[in-house]
Amino acid sequence: MSHRIKRIIPQLLTLLFVLAVIGFFTINAQLNMDERGIDFGYGFLNQESSFDVQFSLIEYDGSHSYAKAYLVGLLNTILVSVLGIIFCTIIGVIIGIARLSPNYLIRNTAAWYVEFFRNVPLLLQIFFWYYAALRALPLPENTEPLFGVTYLTVKGYYIPRLIWENFDILVYSILAAVISIVFIRNYARKLQEEKGEQIPVLLISIGLLLIFPAITFVTGMVQLEVALPVLKQLSKTSFIYAEGLSVPPELLALVLALSLYTATFVAECVRAGVQGVSKGQKEAAASIGLTPNQILKLVIMPQALRIIIPPTTNQYLNLTKNSSLAAAIAYPDLVLVFAGTALMQTGRAIEIVSITMLTYLTLSLAISLLMNWYNKKIAIKEK
C-alpha cells in the first residue's frame, strides 16, 4: 500500500506542476489581453481574407476565408516538404553509396560535398540560391529553351501544362495495375515457397503499370493535351510565358537548398547503414551461391535499412520544419501566408501562432508515424 502511494505521489506532483504552469500562462495571457482590450477567439477564420497569394495548389483568392488561406499555406508547406524529401533521398542515397566507392575521385568528391553543404548554414544556402544563383537567370524574352519546351527565367521556371480529359479513369487504371501486382507478388511468393520456382516479378510489375494506363489512352478513354509556354508581352520591355505552368523561383530555390542540405545527412545515414552490416553476411551469402544482385537485395539492404530508417526519419522531420525558412524568400508557405500576412491583417497573434505550432506538430508526428510503421515492417521478425 505505502509502496503504491510512494509511487503515485511524485507523479501526481509532476502532473499538478505541469497543470499549474499551463494555468499560469493561460491566466496571464487572459488578464493581459483583457487589460489591453484584445478579445480571443477563432471566429476570424471564417472572415474574408481579402489578400491574394502568389502561388496556390487549390483555387484561392482574397474573397475566400482565412481558413482557406491557411489551407493554401499548409499545402504549399507540404508541397515543398514532399519535393524536398524525394530529392534529398535520391541525392542522399547516391552520395552515401558514392562515399563507399572504391574509386578515389568519386569517394572524395562525395566526402567534400557532404562536408561543404552540411557545414554552411541553411538560411545562407537559401539566400545563395535565391539571391545569387536564380537572380542571375535571364529575363523571359532572352531565355533559350531548356529541353526544348521549358524556360528557366528570373521570373520562374515555365513548363508545359498537361490538360487531362477523364483523368479519373487513368487513376483507376493505375489502381487496377497496383492491385494485380499485389496478387502476382503473392502468387510468386507461394510459387517460391512451394516449388522453389522464380518468376521475374519486377519486370511483370513494370509491364503492368505501363500496359494498363496505355490501354486507356489507346482506346481514347483518356486524352491528354499539352499547353506549351508561349511568350507574352505585358509592356514594351516586360514579358512572361503564358499558357504553360509557372514554377516560381522561390519554390525552386527552397527545394534546391533544402534537398542539397538535407541530402548530406541522409548520405551519412546511408553510409552508416551499409557499413553497419557485417562483412561476414556478404561472404556467407556469396558462399551459398547468391548472385551479387541477390546479395544486395536479399541480404545487405534489409539489414542496412534497419539502421538507416530511424536517423533518416529525423532528417525528414528537420526538412519539414526547416521549410518554414521559406518566409525569408517570399515563398508562400504556412509561415508566410498564415503566421505572416493573416496574422498581420487580423492581429490575432496567440490564435494564429497556436494553430501554426499545432500544424507543424501534426505534420511532424504524421511523418514520424509513417516512418515508424515502415521501420516496423522491415524490422527483424523473430520466429
Partner: protein, 346 residues
C-alpha cells in the same frame, strides 16, 4: 547595535512612506507607461528597418526621419532629452505584437490608420504625421505611364503584412487583371527583387517608393506612376488602456505641427517666450499649465520645439532636403493649402 539599526530602518521606512504619500497627489495624474519610461530613463520606440526620410539608421547607428523625430519629441517631453530614445527596428509583421506585448511603448513606423487596426487589436492611433497614398513604380523602358496599362500576368513586389497587400488586390480586382503578388518581409528584399527583374512593378506608399528608389542600382531608370490607389494616413500608435500616455504622444505630435503654424522654430523658441500672442506663449510654456494635465512640467513643449524642431523643420531636414519628396503636397499646413490641421494646444 542591532536594535538601533532596526529603529533607524523603521524611521527611514516611515519617512519614505510619508514622502510618497505627499507626492501621491501629483503622481495620480501620471500614467503607468510614463512612470516606467521615467524609471528606465529612455523611451522605447518601434521604427522601421530602414525607410529613408521616415526612420533610417546611418552607418554609425544614428536614427533620422520624421517618424524618429516623433519619438525624440516624446523623449524630450517626458525625459527632458530628445536623445533618450531606444529604437527597435521592426518588420511590418512584428510591429503590432511588439506594441501590444509591451516590448515598445510608441510605434512610429509609417503605419496606416485603419478602423480594424484601431478597434480590433488593442491599439490606439493618436494622429497622422504623414498623409500618403499607395502608388506603383515601373521601369521607364517598359513604356508604361499609367496604371491602366497593366496587363494580366503582371507580377507585383511588395511588403508582407501591410495595407498595401490589401489595396493591391482591390485595385487589380477592380480592373479585372490577374496578377502575381510577391511579398517579402523586409523592404530591402522587395527592392532587390524588383531591381533584379523578378517583378514588373513595385507597389507601396508613394513616400516609400520615393525613398526606396534611391536604393535601386539605377534610380533614374524607374518612374512612379501618377495614380494614387488608396488613402494611407500614417501615424504613431500606442497601446490601448493608458489614456494619459496616449495624450502625451498625441500632443507631442500636435505641438510640433502647431509650432510650425505659429512660426516657432528650434532657433527662436526661447525668444518666443516674450511674444504677444498667448497661443505662442502657451506653446513655449510661458503661460498656462499645459504640462500638468499629463503629469509633466510646464517646459515640455518648449523642449520638443528646441530639441527636435517644429514639423516643418523635421520635414525639411528628413524628407525635402534628402530629395525624397521636396514637394510637401497634402502634408502642408492647412493655412498654406495642405491638410495638416491639429486641435489647439490650450
Amino acid at each position: 547595535m542591532l536594535r538601533t539599526l532596526k529603529t533607524l530602518m523603521y524611521l527611514l521606512t516611515s519617512i519614505a512612506l510619508l514622502v510618497s504619500f505627499e507626492t501621491g497627489a501629483f503622481a495620480a495624474k501620471k500614467s503607468k507607461t510614463l512612470k516606467k519610461t521615467q524609471k528606465m530613463g529612455f523611451v522605447r520606440c518601434g521604427v522601421s528597418q530602414g525607410l529613408p526620410g521616415f526612420s533610417n539608421a546611418d552607418a554609425s547607428g544614428n536614427w533620422t526621419g520624421v517618424d524618429v523625430d516623433l519619438c525624440r519629441a516624446v523623449a524630450a517631453a517626458t525625459l527632458g532629452d530628445s536623445g533618450k530614445v531606444k529604437f527597435f527596428p521592426l518588420s511590418a509583421k512584428e510591429r503590432f505584437t511588439a506594441l501590444t506585448s509591451g516590448e515598445i511603448d510608441v510605434l512610429s513606423r509609417n503605419t496606416t490608420w485603419t478602423l480594424s487596426r484601431d478597434a480590433d487589436i488593442g491599439l490606439t492611433f493618436v494622429g497622422v504625421n504623414f498623409y500618403d497614398g499607395q502608388g506603383f513604380m515601373v521601369r521607364k523602358s517598359s513604356g508604361i505611364t499609367s496604371v491602366n496599362q497593366f496587363k494580366a500576368g503582371v507580377s507585383a513586389c511588395t511588403n508582407l503584412g501591410t495595407t498595401t497587400e490589401l489595396n493591391m488586390r482591390d485595385f487589380f480586382n477592380s480592373k479585372g487583371i490577374k496578377y502575381e503578388p510577391v511579398t517579402f518581409e523586409k523592404a530591402d528584399e522587395v527592392v532587390a527583387a524588383y531591381d533584379a527583374g523578378r517583378c514588373d512593378t513595385y507597389t507601396t506608399d508613394k513616400s516609400g517608393l520615393a525613398a526606396q528608389r534611391i536604393k535601386l542600382s539605377k534610380p533614374n531608370d524607374h518612374i512612379v506612376l501618377p495614380e494614387t490607389i488608396s488613402k494611407e494616413p500614417l501615424g504613431p500608435v500606442v497601446r490601448q488602456g493608458d489614456a494619459v500616455w496616449e495624450d502625451i504622444v498625441r500632443w507631442s505630435l500636435n505641438v510640433m505641427i502647431e509650432a510650425e503654424e505659429y512660426g516657432i522654430t528650434s532657433a527662436n523658441a526661447d525668444s518666443m517666450k516674450s511674444s504677444d500672442n498667448p497661443a505662442v506663449k502657451r506653446l513655449v510654456g510661458a503661460e498656462g499649465e499645459l504640462g500638468a494635465a499629463f503629469g509633466l512640467d510646464n517646459d515640455w513643449s518648449l523642449r520638443i520645439i528646441k530639441q527636435v524642431g517644429n514639423y516643418g523643420e523635421s520635414y525639411k531636414r528628413n524628407i525635402a532636403d534628402t530629395g525624397i519628396l521636396p514637394d510637401r503636397g497634402p502634408n502642408q499646413l492647412w493655412t498654406k493649402g495642405g491638410i495638416l490641421y491639429v486641435p489647439p494646444a490650450r
